[in-house]
């Protein structure tokens, strides 16, 4: 599980990308849950990290899923028709149960 805190923009997106790549390179579980409870803002750079890595992750049999996303953030994903492409869960517990 990765908990995002603050903003995910052009400045911070590369750190998330590095973290996801590290998870994949170390052969850890390709199921990644992103907790957005403390995320106040996401830019296209942040969305690009998820789009750029999802095919590799799903190719490994895993997925990226989100929990605790604010309505405004989900709406930004919907502008690129991604609200159904990625799974969003209202809570951490529901997301974990869905992965299981």
């Amino acid at each position: 599980m990765i908990e995002l805190n603050g903003v995910l923009n052009a400045d911070t997106a590369s750190k998330l990308e590095f973290t996801i790549n590290q998870i994949l390179e170390k052969g850890l579980s390709p199921n990644i849950l992103i907790d957005l409870k403390k995320l106040s803002f996401i830019s296209s750079a942040g969305i690009g990290v998820f789009i750029g890595s999802i095919s590799k992750i799903r190719g490994l049999g895993g997925d990226i899923r989100f929990c605790n996303a604010g309505d405004e953030i989900i709406e930004i994903f919907s502008f690129l028709e991604m609200e159904n492409f990625f799974k969003f869960y209202p809570s951490y517990e529901e997301a974990i149960n869905a992965f299981n």
Binding site: V7, N9, A10, D11, E17, F41, S43, S44, A45, I47, G48, V49, I51, G52, S53, I54, S55, K56, D71, E72, E75, I76, F79, L80, E81, M82, F85
Partner: protein, 181 residues
């Protein structure tokens, strides 16, 4: 910046944001704000300053226009995207001035963002009108989504670049629906 304008409410918002983000006040010395019939923000564009600018725009939109959170979030998103692209693609390695103008005209909200980057005229917005999610995923595309999102969020987007003057302007309008003005 005169002593009188230092006490304009917008500057007090800026100082409050600096305190919340733990930013030194010297960092914001180049930021100029005007409010009235329109809102104008001028600043020297760096990626690290954008969060501060976004918070300032958010505060001004909610205090001056009482916009709901949803509209405020989208407008802040658009301004952040445009400024990011200006810094990265129009100015590239230089640090240049960005001027944001915002104006509410009835149920239309207008945003104009101007820069003087010499590479701004090499931007071709028509290359960013089509979006195929499956294709983007298949080639592991990580960038270029900002322009598409701006086009989808705003009702009208127009770009102008003035040859020979290194002046690039983006005009955007949004119809304000669904809430009292």
């Amino acid at each position: 910046m005169t002593k009188e304008t230092q006490f304009e409410p917008a500057y007090s918002y800026l100082h409050e944001i600096c305190e919340n983000l733990h930013i030194d006040f010297r960092y914001i010395e180049d930021i100029y704000i005007e409010t009235g019939d329109f809102v104008k923000i001028e600043f020297m564009g760096t990626i690290s300053k954008l969060e501060l600018i976004r918070c300032l725009v958010k505060k001004l939109l909610s205090s001056l226009y009482s916009f709901p959170e949803r509209e405020t979030f989208q407008l802040c998103f658009v301004i952040n995207e445009v400024c990011t692209n200006i810094i990265i693609h129009s100015y590239k390695t230089e640090i240049g001035k960005i001027v944001i103008n915002m104006h509410k005209d009835g149920n239309l909200f207008e945003i104009k963002i101007k820069d003087s980057g010499k590479y701004g005229k090499m931007f071709y917005p028509e290359l960013f009108t089509r979006f195929d999610l499956n294709y983007a995923v298949s080639i592991r595309k990580t960038n270029g989504f900002g322009v598409m999102l701006v086009n989808r969020i705003m009702d009208e987007v127009k770009y102008e670049s003035f040859e020979g003057f290194d002046c690039n302007i983006i005009y955007m309008t949004k119809k304000l629906n669904g809430f009292n003005i």
